[in-house]
Amino acid sequence: MLSVSGVHTFYGNIEALRGVDVEVAEREIVTLIGANGAGKSTLLMTICGNPRATTGTITLNGEDITQRPTFEIVRMGVAQSPEGRRIFPRMTVEENLRMGAVTADPQYYDEDRARVFDLFPRLKERVEQRGGTLSGGEQQMLAIARALMSRPRLLLLDEPSLGLAPMVVKQIFEVIREINESQKMTVFLVEQNAFHALRLAHRGYVMVNGQITLTGSGDELLANPEVRAAYLEGGH
């Protein structure tokens, strides 16, 4: 579905991505793990066209989207829950969901809204509350729900576990699995929480300094001694 090949991305003179190749197939959950500053978020944002890849190509269902503007990429069925959640703090939960649905056909709005409320009952309770007054976990739920409102086929999640309590992280990952299984959503998940991410994902990539160093199924990577030493020991 999504194919990234030989992508280099620069921030000024700094080469953040040094030739990245990633494949995400239909209905898969693929995770990208790595340390701080490895370039994980950069890859996710490059897929969305901001910043642009300097060289290399990104294709979505065979169509080259490397030079497309972000809003067009989103309209092609890619939804992103950006890093730091970026919900609209002064808008209510309902309004945030409406914002997520701007690219979708309005006739599905009620249906989609009911579906995300099934996934996140907490949001239903908070529907008239302002985004900024939600707890961190609720904000993350809102960010994912908002992304789902555009009826995407590919969901990009940037560190949904960031700064959340272990219980909430578990809940959120449970929902991601559910979205993938019941709604047949393809998910590309960027995470620092390697243990949870790899257990959830069908396949995983490990990124170090802007390059993919390891790849394999989730269980393989979980068992890999290098991965264990770098990302799993001493935690969880």
Binding site: C48, N50, P69, T70, F71, V74, R75, A79, Q80, P82, R86, I87, F88, P89, R90, M91, T92, E94, E95, R98, M99, G100, V102, T103, K124, E125, R126, V127, E128, Q129, R130, T133, R146, A147, S150
Partner: protein, 514 residues
């Protein structure tokens, strides 16, 4: 005294006289330094040129007053209330009495007052009253025990509730008042003129509110679109004999296309940089109007701009070519104020159109996209919103309403020149929006009345008018730093009859949820 001080936990047990003296002397020194030049020396016209006269007696008075007032302030702070109330109160009563007598009888009372000018004395009087009131409030608080400290959230919730209730009732009430305003007994021609002026700024404020309040694009050159609208109408009317109502939409379209013209180059800019470019744009338009003599008649301006008609009926004493006039058609006595009343209703309708449009568009996807763009541009892009189009529409629509207001201005004045479209106009319109509370419709009205209406009505204050203007601005920003009526109303409500939950009681709402 010891009793009251002991009960205020925050106050010091006693008065630290050394600190008091130090602070008061410092204040007095600062005042002395400032006032030596500003008050002590005055240039005055004498035969044969200017002469500098010295007023060191006034400097001495000001310095001593600064010392005493500061000392009183420090005393209040350290828990000495009663003496301050008594002394300041007595002085204030005495001064008010003297000033009242001065004003009522016209008899010079300056012999008993520190200054020769009644306004300066009045200011001092106000300071004394403020001090006494402050001390009295503190005293009351100390007697009733420490007031329950409200948390920031509670304060905000309270303010939000107030603003919401106020907006809900004030809107219809103000509209009703505006509708009957020309027929109120005290309204004469002057008050009508002021009202037309205020309404023009209300409309401009509402237009700019789209750009600044909703879309969050700081525009310092808004007056450029106002000018484009005014010149569009003036040139069309004087060159092609077109009427106001025909030109009105055209002026809006012209201004909107200038909005797009400005929008394109500034798309990438945000915040300060955007403000600088829009400021430049406003000046460019003015300079073009000033220098393109063949087209705009330059600094001489355009005169003889026709007045609007009521469905083809002119509001004049006698129609030019034997046609029928408004008062003949309706069998009324001709009155010169009819025309002003008509203009008043024209601007009222134009302003209401602007208001309704804004309220409606806020609930549509494009309006919500503007607000979302103001809050987080990156999030917007990741949701598939095209920021380019969204910003451009905000600029264009905001400019369109300025264009409407501009052609109204041209038709009202009958004469326009580039002088009417200086930067200060942009600044005033922006001040109306910011002081009203960004994005608040009713706030714009309140701010326009305060900023435009009051200075007009208090023209008698002469040179102190702008001082009061500046003072009002500072006070508003101190009391309501986000604007008079800053509160963002959600665009969607799930509960009928106005929203239930605001911070504070959303739990109840969640239980009663749908």
């Amino acid at each position: 005294m010891g009793d009251t001080t002991a009960r205020t936990p925050a106050a010091n047990p006693g008065v630290d006289w050394a600190a008091l003296a130090k602070e008061s002397v410092l204040t007095a020194l600062v005042v002395l330094g400032l006032s030596v030049y500003m008050i002590g020396l005055k240039a005055e016209d004498v035969t044969g040129g200017l002469a500098i006269i010295t007023r060191y007696d006034s400097v001495a008075i000001v310095t001593v007053l600064a010392f005493l007032l500061r000392a009183a302030l420090v005393l209040v702070r350290s828990g000495v209330y009663l003496p301050v109330i008594l002394v300041c109160g007595a002085l204030a009563v005495a001064m008010t009495g003297l000033l009242g007598a001065w004003w009522a009888t016209g008899e010079e009372m300056s012999a008993y007052l520190p200054f020769g000018d009644p306004v300066v004395n009045g200011l001092l009087d106000l300071m004394l009253i403020a001090l006494a009131v402050r001390a009295a409030l503190r005293l009351r608080a100390s007697l009733h025990g420490p007031a329950k400290a409200m948390t920031q959230e509670e304060k905000e919730a309270k303010a939000a509730r107030f603003v919401k209730n106020f907006s809900m009732f004030a809107g219809p009430a103000l509209l009703a008042f505006a509708l009957i305003y020309p027929f109120l007994p005290f309204v004469d021609r002057f008050y009508l003129d002021v009202a037309v002026l205020v309404m023009t700024y209300v409309m401009l404020g509402w237009g700019l509110n789209i750009v600044v309040g909703l879309a969050g694009l700081l525009d310092l050159g808004y007056v450029a679109f106002y000018a484009v609208g005014a010149y569009s109408y003036a040139l069309l009317a004087t060159n092609f004999d077109l009427g106001f109502w025909v030109c009105l939409p055209f002026a809006g379209v012209m201004a909107a296309s200038f909005g797009l013209l400005l929008g394109f180059p500034v798309l990438r800019l945000r915040g300060d940089y955007l403000a600088i470019v829009t400021l430049g744009f406003g000046e460019i338009i003015r300079v073009i109007l000033l220098n393109w003599y063949q087209f705009t008649n330059g600094p001489d301006g355009i005169s003889g701009i026709p007045k609007p008609t009521f469905f083809g009926l002119p509001l004049v004493r006698r129609a030019a070519d034997g046609g029928e006039t408004f008062h003949q058609f309706f069998n009324m006595q001709y009155s010169t104020t009819d025309r002003i009343v008509f203009l008043y209703y024209v601007i009222l309708i134009l302003a209401m159109v602007t208001n309704l449009f804004t309220m409606r568009i806020r609930k549509l996807p494009i309006g919500r996209a503007w607000e979302a763009l103001r809050e987080d541009e990156i999030a917007c892009r990741s949701l598939g919103i095209n920021p380019t189009n969204t910003k451009l529409t905000a600029f264009a629509i905001g400019a369109m309403f300025a264009g409407f207001a501009g052609s109204f201005f041209a038709t009202r004045q009958g004469f326009i020149s580039p002088e009417s479209f200086t930067f200060i106009e942009s600044a005033v319109i922006l001040a109306v929006v910011v002081l009203g509370g960004m994005g608040s419709q009713i706030g714009v009205v309140v701010a326009a009345v305060i900023l435009i209406g009051l200075p007009e009505i208090f023209r008698d204050l002469q040179q102190y008018r702008m001082l009061a203007f500046g003072g009002a601005m500072v006070l508003i920003m101190l009391w309501r730093p986000a604007g008079l009526l800053a509160f963002r109303e959600p665009t969607i409500r799930l509960w009928k009859g106005g929203g239930k939950p605001e911070p504070g009681n959303e739990k109840a709402a969640a239980e009663a949820g749908p």
